[in-house]
C-alpha cells in the first residue's frame, strides 16, 4: 500500500471531502497551499489572526448551511477563542433545543517534542473533553487521521481534530480508495494477555515499542488506541482490562483531571472490570509543569517507552506505589 505522512493524510482527507461537497470551506491564518491552489482563495481563506472571531464565524456559517473547517493550527491559538468554543459552539445545538445543526470541524495540533516550549507544546484536550456538546479525536497514524477527519467533516456537530505535532512527518499506509473511520471506536493496535495499555497519539508508538521489548521477556501487552476522545470507546477498554486484569494509561498530557484519569475511572468504576483487576491502575503521563524548552528538560517532562515499561512492570508486580506523574 502507498504511504503518506500524517500531515499529507490530513490534507488529502480535506481535499477529498471538499471535492464532493461545495458547502465545505476552510479558514486558517496560514492556509495550506495545495488546497488554495485547487479550491481557490474563497473556499480556502487566509484570515486575519483573529481566532475568537473566526471560531464564531464558523458557527454562524454552519448554522446558515455551510460546513466550515476552522484550522486553529496550534491548539495554543484556540485559547483566545474559548468563549466561542465553550459558551457557543459546545452549547448552541442543545441550548436552542436542537433547532439547527452546526457541522464544524476545528483542527488543532497538540503535543511536544518540537522544542517550542511552554506555549506551543500543550496537550489540553481534557479541557475540551470536560465540555458537553463537542466531539473530538486524536489519532496516532496517517490512516486513522484521514478516516476520522472524513467522518468528522460529514458529522453534523462541532468536532475537534487534535493532531499530534510529533507525528506530522511520520509515514504510514493509507489506501487510495475512499474509507472512513467511525467516531467512538477504539483500535486494538496490538493483542496481548498480561497487561492492557491505553495510549494516544505519539505514545501509541512508544507503547508498541515497549510491548515489543517486553515480549522478549515473555510479557504480553495489549495496546489500545481509543483514537476518539469523545465519545470514548469505554467498552473496548473495559473488555481488554477484564481480560488482562491490569491497566496502564499513557498520555502526553499531565495526569490531573486528564484523559488518563478518565480512562482509569471508566475502567475501575465498572464492577465487573474492577473485580477482575489484579493491580491498581498505573498512569504514565507528563510531569505537572509547563513544558520547558531545553532538550534535557523537555525530554524529562514527557513520558516515553522507558517510563511505559516501568509502568507495566509496576502493574505486573501489583505495585501499590505511584511513580512519577
Amino acid at each position: 500500500m502507498r504511504e503518506l505522512t500524517y500531515a499529507q493524510a490530513g490534507v488529502e482527507a480535506v481535499a477529498e471531502e471538499m471535492r464532493v461537497d461545495p458547502r465545505i470551506f476552510y479558514m486558517s491564518t496560514d492556509p495550506i497551499m495545495p488546497l488554495v491552489k485547487e479550491f481557490g482563495d474563497k473556499r480556502v481563506r487566509a484570515t486575519p489572526i483573529a481566532e475568537a472571531a473566526l471560531t464564531g464565524i464558523s458557527i454562524g456559517a454552519a448554522g446558515s448551511g455551510y460546513r466550515p473547517i476552522m484550522d486553529w493550527r496550534q491548539v495554543t491559538f484556540s485559547f483566545v477563542a474559548m468563549d466561542q468554543i465553550v459558551n457557543q459552539a459546545a452549547k448552541i445545538h442543545y441550548m436552542f433545543g436542537g433547532q439547527r445543526t452546526f457541522p464544524i470541524l476545528y483542527r488543532a495540533n497538540v503535543g511536544g517534542g518540537t522544542r517550542l516550549a511552554a506555549q506551543h507544546c500543550q496537550c489540553p484536550y481534557s479541557m475540551f473533553m470536560n465540555l458537553s456538546g463537542l466531539k473530538m479525536f486524536l489519532p496516532s497514524t496517517p490512516y486513522d487521521l484521514k478516516g476520522l477527519l472524513k467522518t468528522a467533516i460529514r458529522d453534523n456537530n462541532p468536532v475537534i481534530s487534535f493532531e499530534s505535532n510529533r507525528l506530522l512527518t511520520t509515514k504510514g499506509p493509507v489506501p487510495e480508495e475512499d474509507y472512513t473511520i467511525p467516531l467512538g471506536v477504539a483500535d486494538i493496535k496490538r493483542k496481548g494477555t498480561d497487561v492492557t495499555i491505553v495510549a494516544i497519539a505519539w505514545l501509541v508508538h512508544e507503547a508498541l515499542a515497549a510491548a515489543e521489548e517486553l515480549a522478549k521477556s515473555g510479557i504480553s501487552v495489549e495496546v489500545i488506541d481509543p483514537r476518539t476522545l469523545v465519545p470514548l470507546d469505554v467498552e473496548t477498554i473495559r473488555a481488554s482490562v477484564r481480560k488482562t486484569g491490569r491497566l496502564v494509561v499513557a498520555d502526553e498530557a499531565g495526569p490531573t483531571a486528564g484523559f488518563s484519569a478518565e480512562v482509569a475511572a471508566v475502567a475501575t468504576e465498572d464492577p465487573e472490570t474492577f473485580a477482575r483487576m489484579k493491580s491498581p491502575v498505573r498512569r504514565v503521563c507528563a510531569l505537572n509543569v509547563p513544558i520547558p524548552y531545553s532538550p534535557p528538560l523537555e525530554d524529562h517532562v514527557f513520558p516515553d517507552r522507558k517510563r511505559i515499561m516501568a509502568g507495566i512492570r509496576d502493574v505486573l508486580e501489583g505495585a501499590r506505589s505511584v511513580r512519577g506523574g
Binding site: P48, L54, D83, H93
Partner: protein, 321 residues
C-alpha cells in the same frame, strides 16, 4: 422616507407588543413564574423595530442577553417565546434556554446570547454565508455599548470590512454596561467613531426616533445588498429598568436621569407623530394597545397550558443526527 401608514402602524404595534411582553415578563418573574433572570428592553424598542423594519424575512439577526425586543421585531411567535420563559416544552428551545437563549432560526433570529459580544462573530458568519450564497441577504448584529469594548467586536469589524460582508452592526448604546457608565469605560463618546478605523461608515442616530433608526438601517441594508460592505450604526438610547430584574442589584443611575429619559419615550413619540399626521386617532391607538395586550395574555395562556419538560428530556438534543 417611503413608509406607508400601514407600515408605520405596524411598527407601533410591534413596539407596543415588546413593551407589554416585557411588562408581563417582569411581573411574572417577580411572581416566581419565570426563573433565573430577565433583562428588560423597555425604552429601547425603537431600535429593534426600526432596524428590523428595514429587513426582509430571509435576512438574519443576532441578539444579546436583552433579546425579547429583537425576537418580536423579527417576527417571533409570542406564544413560544413566553412558553420558553415559563420553562415549558412548548417554548422555542423546549425549556432548555430561557429568556437569555431564545432563537428562531426559521425566521433568521440566530439567538439571544448570555455573553456580551458573544453573538457578534456568529452573525458575521451568517453574513459570510450570505455573501457566499450571493443571494443579496444581509445579517445584523445587535449589541450594546459594553460589547463594543470587547475584542470580537473589533475582530469582526475588521474582517467584515476587509471581506466586504453584507453586515450591519447595530450598537444599542444605552449608556450603561450592566451597572457601569459608558462614560467611565469608553475613551471616545461615540462608538460609531470607531468605524473610521475600519474604513466603513459609522452613523450616530437618536435611538428613540424610530424613523431615524429606520432610515439609517435602510441605507446600511442597501449598501450591504449592493456588495459595498458593512455599516456601524450607533443608536443612542436608554433602558428604563435596571440591568436585570433580579432583586438587590445595584443601580447607580439617578432618578432624575431615568425620569428625563422616560419623557423621551419612543412609543409616545411615534404614536404622537401618527396622531399628529392624521394616520391614526386616539381610539385607533387604544385599539392597537389592546390588541398588543391581548396577544400577550394569549401567550401567557399558551405558556401555562404547555407542560413542563420531563426530567429525561434533559438528555435530548445533545448531538445532531
Amino acid at each position: 422616507m417611503n413608509l406607508s401608514p400601514d407600515k408605520q402602524r405596524e411598527m407601533l404595534r410591534q413596539m407596543l407588543t415588546i413593551r407589554h411582553f416585557e411588562e408581563r415578563a417582569s411581573a411574572d418573574y417577580h411572581a416566581g413564574k419565570i426563573y433565573g433572570v430577565v433583562h428588560c428592553y423597555i425604552g429601547e424598542e425603537a431600535v429593534a423595530v426600526g432596524v428590523c423594519s428595514a429587513l426582509e424575512t430571509g435576512d438574519q439577526i443576532i441578539s444579546t442577553h436583552r433579546g425579547h425586543g429583537h425576537c418580536i421585531a423579527k417576527g417571533a411567535d409570542l406564544n413560544r417565546m413566553m412558553a420558553e420563559l415559563y420553562g415549558r416544552q412548548g417554548g422555542y428551545c423546549k425549556g432548555k434556554g430561557g429568556s437569555m437563549h431564545i432563537a428562531d432560526f426559521g425566521i433568521g433570529m440566530l439567538g439571544a446570547n448570555g455573553i456580551v459580544a458573544g453573538g457578534i462573530s456568529i452573525v458575521t458568519g451568517a453574513g459570510l454565508a450570505a455573501q457566499m450564497d450571493g443571494n443579496g441577504r444581509v445579517a445584523v448584529s445587535f449589541f450594546g455599548d459594553g460589547a463594543s469594548n470587547a475584542g470580537p467586536f473589533h475582530e469582526c469589524l475588521n474582517i467584515a470590512a476587509t471581506w466586504k460582508l453584507p453586515m450591519i452592526y447595530v450598537c444599542e448604546n444605552n449608556m450603561y454596561a450592566a451597572q457601569t457608565a459608558a462614560a467611565a469605560t469608553h475613551a471616545m463618546p461615540d462608538v460609531a467613531g470607531r468605524a473610521a478605523g475600519y474604513g466603513i461608515p459609522g452613523v450616530v442616530v437618536d435611538g428613540n426616533d424610530i424613523f431615524g433608526v429606520y432610515q439609517a438601517a435602510a441605507r446600511a441594508v442597501a449598501r450591504a445588498r449592493a456588495g459595498e460592505g458593512p455599516t456601524l450604526i450607533e443608536c443612542k438610547t436608554y433602558r428604563w429598568r435596571a440591568h436585570t430584574e433580579r432583586a438587590g442589584q445595584p443601580d447607580f443611575r439617578t432618578a432624575e436621569e431615568i425620569e428625563a429619559w422616560k419623557t423621551k419615550d419612543p412609543i409616545a413619540r411615534l404614536s404622537g407623530q401618527l396622531i399628529a399626521q392624521g394616520s391614526m386617532s386616539e381610539a385607533d391607538l387604544k385599539a392597537l394597545d389592546q390588541e398588543a395586550l391581548a396577544s400577550i395574555a394569549a401567550s401567557v395562556a399558551f405558556a401555562e397550558a404547555s407542560p413542563f419538560p420531563t426530567p429525561e428530556q434533559a438528555l435530548e438534543d445533545m448531538y445532531a443526527a
